[in-house]
């Protein structure tokens, strides 16, 4: 059954539809844009030519939840929030930390390779995937892994597809190992002026009770907590038992106090929502007048890189919002202006300088028009030729998301 909601758009409601659509497009030389929840559509360039857009959102079933085995299997178009709500019925979850999780699909989130701020604590979302089925460009279904929590039978094919931006294959379903939901969550929020920040970051990095996530934020006020946009603050998220969180709170307050942060606000009710809003901020867009960059690196260099990106944008008289992940080192910097015209005038030179300073910084959000003239992914990795060869071998006709990934893959 094919449910067509717009010319050239197919919402696959069955694996068979997905197979048939892809196979037909591949044979006929049609280019296919793969869609999940479209929450990360701000990543990557627009496709030079898209004949069909193929949405996986109709594949939205939990296929199995073997809660006693701590495993589950879900179709790729299931929304992340819906997926975790289903697992929560048996007190379990999978830490897929992506923005806009009510809308984002599990397949799209994993295909986009969004790494998530709790990865130092739980592991990457990719480490929870124990098996998968994909549909290749020619419509062939291919399985890997299984439904057991430990498996070294054959290549780690799911690792290849995760983060491939839908350019190698399309997930039909994914198998996960799950975790028990932590008994309690708590957010600690404190003002953090820039002068105090290096000491605070060092203290957070050496906390005895490791936070599940920790961010230093400058701006993004309207997105996260409604505070004044220019305030700097630190957001710590702890997950675990009541006893652990009590100890974490004491330790964190003491450590931040030593760094010169006198006051910390505890948020218990609404801690999860606060965490979600922080994630959402990473791709929050100011319509037509902002672009958000992401830069990976080690935690120890995160602040330095964040300041470097911010200062560069400020030199071009752009407004900036900055957020960096203390535990993993990811940096997000949003450059913006009050109106689209002024933004368009300034962003070109700013972008050039940012790329010169940090060749690997990637654009993760911004209106299509605003980012259309920039190469969004940044410097190609050293193994780009192997990646191109894989693309050619898996998708010889360039059917799947052609040109949307790094190096023109």
């Amino acid at each position: 059954m094919i449910a067509s909601t717009a010319p050239g758009r197919v919402v696959a409601k069955s694996i068979e539809t997905l197979r048939e659509t892809l196979g037909r497009c591949d044979r006929e030389g049609l280019k296919v844009l793969i869609e999940g929840g479209k929450t990360l559509a701000g990543m990557g360039p627009a496709m030079p030519r898209a004949d069909v857009s193929l949405a996986t959102t109709g594949l939205d079933k939990m296929l199995a939840h073997e809660f006693a085995d701590l495993t589950c299997s879900a179709q790729s178009g299931m929304r992340v929030a819906q997926f975790n709500a289903a697992l929560a019925k048996h007190g379990q979850f999978v830490p897929i930390d992506v923005p806009l999780r009510k809308k984002a699909t599990i397949g799209g989130s994993l295909a986009a390779g969004w790494p998530g701020p709790r990865r130092h604590f739980y592991g990457r979302a990719r480490d929870f995937v124990i098996g998968s089925q994909v549909c290749l460009a020619d419509g062939t279904l291919a399985n890997s892994g299984g439904m057991v929590v430990k498996n070294v039978s054959g290549y780690n094919m799911e690792k290849l597809y995760i983060g491939s931006f839908g350019t190698l294959a399309v997930f039909t379903h994914l198998n996960f190992k799950t975790l028990p939901i932590p008994k309690k969550r708590r957010a600690l929020i404190a003002p953090l002026p820039e002068a105090t920040r290096p000491r605070a970051v060092a203290q957070i990095a050496s906390l005895a009770v490791t936070p599940a996530a920790a961010f230093c934020v400058e701006g993004f006020g309207k997105n996260i907590d409604g505070s004044d946009d220019i305030d700097g603050r630190v957001l710590l998220y702890f997950e675990g038992s009541e006893e652990l969180l009590e100890r974490a709170t004491l330790d964190a307050r003491s450590a931040l106090g030593k760094a010169g942060v006198p006051e910390t606000t505890i948020v218990d009710t609404g801690a999860s929502e606060s965490f979600d809003r922080t994630l959402d901020a990473c791709i929050a867009n100011k319509r037509g007048r902002s672009i958000t960059y992401r830069l990976f690196g080690t935690p120890g260099t995160a602040e330095e890189r964040a300041v470097r990106l911010r200062d560069a944008a400020n030199r071009h008289e752009l407004f900036t919002d900055v957020l960096f992940d203390v535990m993993n080192g990811d940096v997000f910097m949003r450059a913006s202006e009050r109106d689209a015209r002024r933004f368009a005038e300034k962003i070109g030179a700013c972008h050039a300088e940012l790329r010169e300073l940090e060749p690997r910084c990637a654009i993760v959000a911004g209106d299509t028009a605003a980012r259309a003239s920039f190469e969004p992914w940044g410097a190609v990795p050293p193994a780009i030729e192997k990646m191109r060869a894989l693309k050619a071998r898996f998708d010889p006709h360039g059917t799947l998301n052609p040109g949307r990934f790094i190096g023109g893959i």
């Binding site: 073997e66 809660f67 006693a68 085995d69 701590l70 495993t71 390779g113 790494p115 592991g123 990719r126 480490d127 290749l136 062939t140 279904l141 291919a142 399985n143 890997s144 299984g146 439904m147 057991v148 929590v149 430990k150 498996n151 070294v152 039978s153 054959g154 290549y155 780690n156 094919m157 690792k159 290849l160 995760i162 983060g163 975790l179 028990p180 939901i181 005895a208 490791t210 038992s241 006893e243 652990l244 990976f296 690196g297 080690t298 935690p299 120890g300 990637a362 940044g378 990795p381 050293p382 193994a383 780009i384 192997k386 990646m387 060869a389 894989l390 071998r393 790094i406 190096g407 893959i409």
Partner: protein
């Protein structure tokens, strides 16, 4: 020609061609392969690349080798060729304490890394039972696990970056921080069939504040299995949850004096690590669960020495099999953990009719069984019976919704069995990766893929 060029590139000390030297490298812990044409012991990435180019020029297969502890024939030279030993590339190159990571060479012994970073309060989590001898490079090749991967995950979860030499002798790096395909994730566990790893950045973890080890004994193996499910079901994921059965307890106790009850049907060794308060909660909850499942003995290790003794018995279990039979054959299967009773029954069903004694020492929390089939290598009937029983055990694992290897790899031994869990299309898709990295099938040939498989041949 081959020998001369290798000596010119690497020096005479780094090239072995005497038959008595080559014979050592024809084996791994599984079986014997074909005598290699040469063995090289490169001292640097540059030398690895040079030797790869020479092997290519001479049309020789390339076999990367760690410590040779692999149990599936992954390091045997199945078609001869040049064996690459990393015994001289065995250093910790860099420790980055702030970012909790280390850059190491492939020949570094697993346990040596944890020892090296212990003073900084860190450790390297993957801990295969062979960790006193097996190498990080070999562990990367097989995506090695170990008792503690229940909580910490297998090797792939701990590798951040790789430097590799590809089949052409080119040096490439891959990193989880690179935007692009996760080649690091695919290379880990590829058993040397895609590239040779010459260095790796690996993740280090902070040593826990408290480690607790408990022993629970049962007079029924099914009750022990149910207790495993009960502990996990209670929302506790211990750092390790191991089981030993009645066959194995007496020889282990005789060898290690660990204090195991030798009359129990099964013993669970349970470890949890974290903060003192949390461990108190874990202890009371786990104790409640095992009591519910009629544990006959409950013991908590009170000192580090007691803890170490309990672990010494578990980690040295394979050596204790010598008290039962001259040889053992170890299988490596995984089933959903709720299927442990059926899997254990399947092991008994495969072995008992043939008169084979089978012991079980395994990672119960992961559902990862290691049946130990005792036999005498000098008795050809026993050898045949053990092979037959091993195959039946693999079949049973698949029938129970499991898989044919949890941590040892596919290697040479299980490559044909891979067809039991993957379709022709699945294997052909995997083969596409191989075709990109090793189109001439020179890197560790005859491994992982069923005999004779190229993409077209899978069809």
């Amino acid at each position: 020609m081959l020998q001369q060029r290798l000596v010119e590139a690497l020096g005479a000390d780094a090239v072995k061609t005497a038959p008595e030297d080559l014979a050592v490298y024809a084996f791994d812990a599984y079986s014997q392969g074909v005598m290699p044409a040469a063995v090289v012991l490169p001292g640097s990435t540059r030398e690895v690349a040079a030797a790869v180019k020479i092997a290519n020029d001479c049309g020789e297969p390339i076999i990367p080798r760690g410590a040779g502890t692999g149990l599936c024939g992954g390091a045997i030279p199945a078609r001869g060729g040049v064996v690459f030993s990393f015994a001289r590339m065995n250093r910790v190159l860099e420790v980055d304490v702030r970012n909790r990571r280390a850059r190491v060479q492939p020949g570094l012994i697993n346990l040596d890394l944890s020892k090296h970073v212990a003073q900084a309060g860190l450790f390297y989590a993957p801990d295969p039972s062979s960790q006193k001898v097996s190498t990080i490079g070999g562990n990367i090749g097989t995506n090695a696990g170990g008792p503690h991967c229940l909580s910490y995950g297998t090797t792939v979860n701990h590798v951040l970056e790789l430097e590799i030499v590809d089949e052409n002798g080119d040096v490439i790096t891959t990193s989880l921080d690179d935007i692009g395909y996760d080649l690091t994730g695919v290379l880990v566990g590829s058993e040397g069939t895609l590239a040779i790893v010459t260095s790796a950045w690996v993740r280090l973890l902070r040593q826990p504040e408290t480690v607790r080890v408990w022993l629970a004994a049962f007079d029924d193996v099914n009750a022990a299995s149910a207790a495993v499910t009960g502990i996990i079901g209670a929302g506790i994921i211990p750092t390790a949850l191991e089981m030993m059965d009645q066959v194995m307890l007496p020889p282990i106790e005789a060898a290690f004096h660990a204090g195991y009850p030798t009359d129990a049907a099964a013993v669970l060794l349970i470890e949890s690590a974290g903060f003192e308060d949390e461990m108190n909660l874990h202890e009371s909850e786990i104790r409640r669960v095992v009591k519910e499942h009629n544990a006959t003995t409950w013991r908590a290790a009170k000192t580090e020495a007691e803890r170490d003794a309990l672990w010494a018995g578990r980690k040295g279990a394979l050596g204790a099999t010598g008290r039962i039979a001259p040889n053992y054959y170890i299988q490596d299967i995984v089933v959903p953990r709720t299927k442990l009773p059926q899997a254990l029954q399947a092991v008994a069903d495969a072995c008992e009719p043939q008169g084979i004694i089978a012991g079980n020492v395994f990672h119960a929390g992961d559902g990862n069984l290691h049946p130990l089939l005792m036999y005498d290598r000098g008795d050809t009937k026993q050898v045949a019976a053990v092979i037959e029983a091993g195959n039946q055990i693999l079949e049973a694992a698949v029938d129970l919704g499991g898989t044919i290897s949890g941590e040892h790899g596919i290697g040479y031994e299980k490559r044909d069995t891979l067809r039991r869990i993957f379709s022709t299309d699945d294997l052909a898709t995997m083969s596409r990766v191989r075709e990109v990295f090793d189109p001439r099938r020179r890197l560790n040939p005859e491994k992982i893929f069923p005999a004779g498989v190229g993409c077209a041949e899978v069809q």
